[in-house]
């Protein structure tokens, strides 16, 4: 039991700054995080709780990504690790990677950085609290005030910021190389 708890404590969720908002009536910013999704029935899973382990068929799946597929690594420190994740997951026909969003008050993170695309790592307690607000279980005022106790549960991840930014640019580069993906559908210019 202790080992499991220790594992949970060490989990940090990578989140990407999507839109920095700094208005009188809104000082929270939107972040995205990646999830592994499955919409169909999938077999071969086991549910492991404290005292039991039971095989199940999953109807749907939404799992938050927090590290690369290489279990020795905890951060996506280069674009290849992101590629590897996408390729490994999406080669399974019924699995794909999507993203979701959470909101984080500016005072929690903006002392580090606030550029769009910046990657931060949130400890699980902070992420869970943000998730509760996103799910509608907390009102905004309660959330903005209450999240203060997690102020030390966030760190800026410079290496992952560079990795995700470079990965993003690579996707655009690949798109340009492929262009036009379908010659017949190529758009005309004025």
């Amino acid at each position: 039991m202790k080992q499991v708890n220790e594992t949970l404590k060490s989990i940090e969720i990578p989140v990407l700054l999507d839109d920095f908002k700094d208005f009188d009536d809104l000082k929270m910013s939107r972040f995205t995080y990646y999830t592994i999704e499955c919409d169909e029935l999938s077999l071969g899973w086991e549910l492991e709780l404290e005292k039991i382990r039971i095989p199940v068929c999953l109807i749907g799946l939404s799992a938050i990504v927090w590290r690369p597929i290489d279990e020795k690594l905890h951060e996506f420190t280069n674009p290849q690790l992101i590629d590897d994740l996408f390729n490994a997951i999406e080669e399974k026909e019924n699995l794909f990677i999507e993203f979701e969003e959470i909101w984080i008050p500016n005072y929690i993170f903006s002392k580090f950085s606030k550029n769009r695309g910046d990657v931060f790592r949130l400890k699980l307690d902070l992420f869970n609290y943000a998730f509760r607000y996103q799910s509608g279980k907390l009102e905004m005022e309660e959330y903005i005030t209450g999240v203060d106790r997690f102020i030390n549960d966030i760190k800026f991840s410079e290496a992952e910021t560079d990795a995700f930014r470079n990965w993003s640019n690579e996707q655009v580069s690949v798109a340009k190389e492929l262009y036009p993906k379908n010659k017949e559908l190529e758009i005309e210019w004025r």
């Binding site: 809104l26 995205t32 999507e98 969003e101 769009r116 996707q171 036009p180 005309e188 004025r190």
Partner: protein, 276 residues
């Protein structure tokens, strides 16, 4: 007789607009602008699924079901859930604006690079000539070619006009004052429906002096549709709603009127909506 219909889908908070165009031969074509689905709140996906099912369209065997899918700009409240829609419904073309920082949205481009469910994808701007959707001509009003706003992604929003005969419908993403300074006089005089920018926020409809940024160039009789974003933004802002009321503008909002349907035969336009 041709028809153009725009349904501003009530997706809770965010944007998602289904376009349906029927030509004089009776052929029907579909387009989609944006999505804000989450894993558990798939408002856009479910609406589309039911809509196509009601029309007896076999989604799987009719792929690609969309002629065009547009991502208006690279913010997650406009792109969440689009990948699932592209995957399951398919699209001939996926269009998006240029951006300096794709981050959240780059997985969509990554998907389109290798997916057979999307036949073609590219960035678009006002230098591009898009083929019509059915009999409805499409004009890209913004962004301009090779201009990328580095400070505010909202101002990279694709602004579109769809025109069937004498009637135009305009779609604006989250374009703000800076965009309207440049193009508000390009709003077609034939506009019967105008999607209010940026969920009815002050930034989308008022300039820095608090004056209307596009309203004076939008025909008085045009229907104004607001895709609300109450949480956490409180959009539409009351100042914008008050402005519309002062100017006797007919406006509708998804948080009060649910799905908003605007339909034209190229001559007149009707609106359908609900009440809370």
């Amino acid at each position: 007789m041709g028809m153009l219909k725009a349904i501003v889908i009530d997706v809770g908070w965010g944007d998602s607009i289904l376009l349906e165009s029927r030509n004089n031969n009776g052929d029907t074509f579909f387009a989609l602008i944006d999505s804000n689905d989450t894993t558990y709140l798939r408002s856009s996906y479910v609406f589309l699924k039911r809509y196509f099912e009601k029309k007896s369209i076999d989604i799987e065997n009719n792929k690609p079901n969309f002629e065009y899918v547009f991502l208006s700009h690279g913010h997650s409240d406009h792109g969440k859930g689009l990948k699932r829609i592209l995957r399951d419904f398919g699209a001939q073309c996926f269009f998006y604006p240029k951006s300096t920082n794709w981050s959240s949205m780059s997985h969509l481009i990554q998907f389109c690079n290798h997916s057979s469910n999307v036949l073609h994808h590219q960035s678009i701007d006002n230098s591009k000539i898009l083929p019509a959707l059915g009999d409805a001509d499409i004009d890209v009003l913004w962004p301009t070619h090779n201009s990328i706003n580095t400070g505010n992604e909202n101002n990279n929003s694709i602004v579109l006009s769809f025109k069937l005969n004498n009637v135009s419908f305009c779609f604006t993403g989250d374009a703000e004052d800076e965009v309207w300074n440049s193009i508000s006089n390009n709003i077609p005089s034939s506009t019967h429906f105008f999607k209010v920018p940026h969920h009815g926020s002050v930034n989308g409809s008022l300039d820095q002096n608090g004056d209307p940024s596009w309203l004076d160039d939008c025909p008085q009789n045009a229907y104004l549709g607001i895709s609300s974003h109450i949480r956490p933004h409180n959009h539409p802002h009351q100042e914008v709603i008050n402005l519309f009321k002062q100017r006797n503008r007919k406006s509708f909002r998804t948080d009060e009127n649910y799905h908003l349907t605007f339909e034209t035969d190229g001559v007149g336009t009707t609106v359908q909506y609900s009440h809370v």
